[in-house]
Amino acid sequence: MTLELSATIGDRNLEVSLTVGPQETVAVMGPNGAGKSSVVQVLAGLLRPDAGHATLGGRPLFRMGNPGLWLPPHTRGIGLLAQDPLLFPHLSVLENVAFGPRSQGRSRSEAAAAARHWLSEVDAVELASRKPGQLSGGQAQRVALARALATDPELLLLDEPMAALDINSAPFLRSLLKRVLAGRRAVIVTHHVLDALMLADRIIVMDGGRIVEEGPTAAVLSHPRSPFAASLAGLNVLTGSLSGAGVQTPDAGLVAGRLTGGLAADAEGDRPADVAARSDAVSASAPAPSGSAGSSPAKGGPEGMAAFPPSAVSVFLAPPQGSPRNCFPVTVSELEPHGDHIRVRAGRLAADISPAATAELQLTPGSRVFFVVKAAEVDIYPA
């Protein structure tokens, strides 16, 4: 009884295949243009892929090719909540929510009763008689959610449902979604890691029209494998080949750390490994190696990742002597405020330091400095 999708769209360079369990909420994340919304539109029946097929609970949704099959949107039983609430402006809130049940052939009174029920589920009963033009953005999106749920869809698609909301409305809708998505099959496209944390059982990371990473939310965020997942998790991630208690990276040399994940069992996990400072320069101003999850291992060995938070990174003007640390000579590319710290970006590495330290080091873009991180702060795990 799962949702299975496989779709290819040539001119959007999209090629994905995914499954979603009956009561599972999956977050689809990725940079702009990754193809997330295309996946939603294909599932909803609003966009035809060039090839592929999909089934929902054993029922075919579409099968491209010959003989082909294409269920129109109104027969799919798939609800859609987009960034824009798209409430029908000529209908009242109640009529908007009753629209789905009415279209499913239920009587006027039944549809109104269902609408009232779902409006109360989203705490919007008192808005029933208003017109959409009289609602705030947050209210409208709650009503749109009630409208999507009122048809009891087998699959609910949420395409950046909170992207257009102000910072006061988003948390309310998010906790509302947490409540109504429990035990329901949903795919949520989002840019916010908080949405994934609160709502999703699983994360699918897309980039360039492909799925580059997927797994349980906690696993993806603690051990990201793609650059996008690393940025979501707020971690610095270097890839290379596993070598002892470290990762041999092509551009930053050996990064020492603690083995975690599947490796911790067959290695002495918590002991920080000794590593001397290196002179290999991280090519700071160059962008991350393309498709970096797949950047070739330096010297044999299985592929591995080294991840550490920016807060664990110290910044020095000269390499520190004699301590078991990783040291990366870098060139500062950007400085930006980050909470009550300054985030110092150098290529794909970042360090969070205090404003005072930033001033003392006289950091500006172009400064050549050393990023230093204790091996104990670095998680090493297989790709």
Binding site: H74, D84, P89, S103, P132, G133, S136, A140, S169
Partner: protein, 282 residues
């Protein structure tokens, strides 16, 4: 976040040079002064008898009836045409649109001739119709057809524009809620484009009311049967100029009412996207 908080007020500065106002005023006068010139010619003492003579009343009544029928025809055929042009995608769509809009630019007399050689007794379809005992030309039906021929593009053009800006996203959402295409059309699309439909229908009615060339060519000028108000005015122009002016004033008055009603049409309700801020609504 963008788009939140109080909406930006438009800046006060407007870059319209003074001479533009002068030329614009001349253009406006070019339209308004001739109307005044005609109103000045109206014989007010005899106005009511002039417009209530038997031939005038016949013409007025016929004009209203045929224009109403023609508007109905325009709605019946124009709505599907506009939908197909705005929503569907097929080969030759642009050519079809150009051809349908042709009556806007073709002289009405030419349109009347085209109708005559199609539906007339010796016309392309007229021969078969005659066999069936239907004779269209020089009947009230012909008047309605001539008017619909020239008025249809007005409705299609107006509605197609509205359909394109009304956005298909509402229709897509309605479909995901389980609504069949016919339900979407009836409950979402038509209500959303109603202002465009109404203004298109009003324009068609006004164009039908003023139709002259195609009607004269295809339907002739029989009192009470095909002689509509414009034809009556043209006829009276030689024999009874006062009656012609009075009837012209009547037509202008009807047109003014029609235009005024169109511009009073309420705008589409604002979508929720740019609704009031939370605090104001709570």
């Amino acid at each position: 976040m963008p788009g939140l908080g109080p909406r930006n007020r438009a800046w006060q500065y407007r870059a319209v040079p003074l001479w533009v106002y002068v030329v614009a005023a001349a253009g406006a006068l070019f339209i308004l002064v001739p109307l005044l010139g005609m109103v000045a010619k109206v014989n007010w003492a005899q106005f009511v008898p002039l417009i209530t003579s038997e031939s005038s009343l016949d013409a007025l009544l016929l004009s209203l009836k045929t224009a109403a029928a023609s508007t109905a025809l325009c709605i019946v055929f124009g709505v599907p045409l506009a939908l197909v042009l705005a929503r569907a995608q097929f080969a030759g769509q642009r050519i079809l649109r150009a051809l349908i809009l042709l009556p806007l630019v073709v002289p009405p007399v030419v349109g009347g001739l085209a109708l005559l050689y199609t539906f007339g007794r010796e016309g392309l379809l007229g021969k078969s119709l005659t066999v069936l005992g239907i004779d269209v030309a020089f009947s009230t039906t012909a008047v309605v057809m001539a008017q619909a021929f020239v008025a249809l593009p007005f409705l299609v053009l107006s509605l197609e524009g509205t359909l394109r800006t009304a956005g298909q996203k509402y229709e897509a959402v309605a479909a995901t809620l389980g609504a069949r295409p016919s339900t979407v059309l009836r409950r979402i699309t038509i209500p959303l484009v109603l202002p465009g439909l109404v203004s298109g229908a009003v324009l068609s009615f006004a164009r039908s009311l003023g139709e002259f060339g195609a009607t004269l060519t295809f339907a002739g000028s029989l009192q009470g049967v095909t002689r509509t108000l414009p034809l009556e005015i043209y006829l009276q122009r030689e024999t009874d100029p006062d009656a012609a002016v009075a009837l012209s004033f009547l037509l202008i008055a009807v047109a003014v009412v029609v235009v005024a009603l169109t511009y009073r049409t309420p705008r589409l309700p604002r979508p929720a996207a740019d609704a009031v801020p939370e605090t104001a609504a709570a």
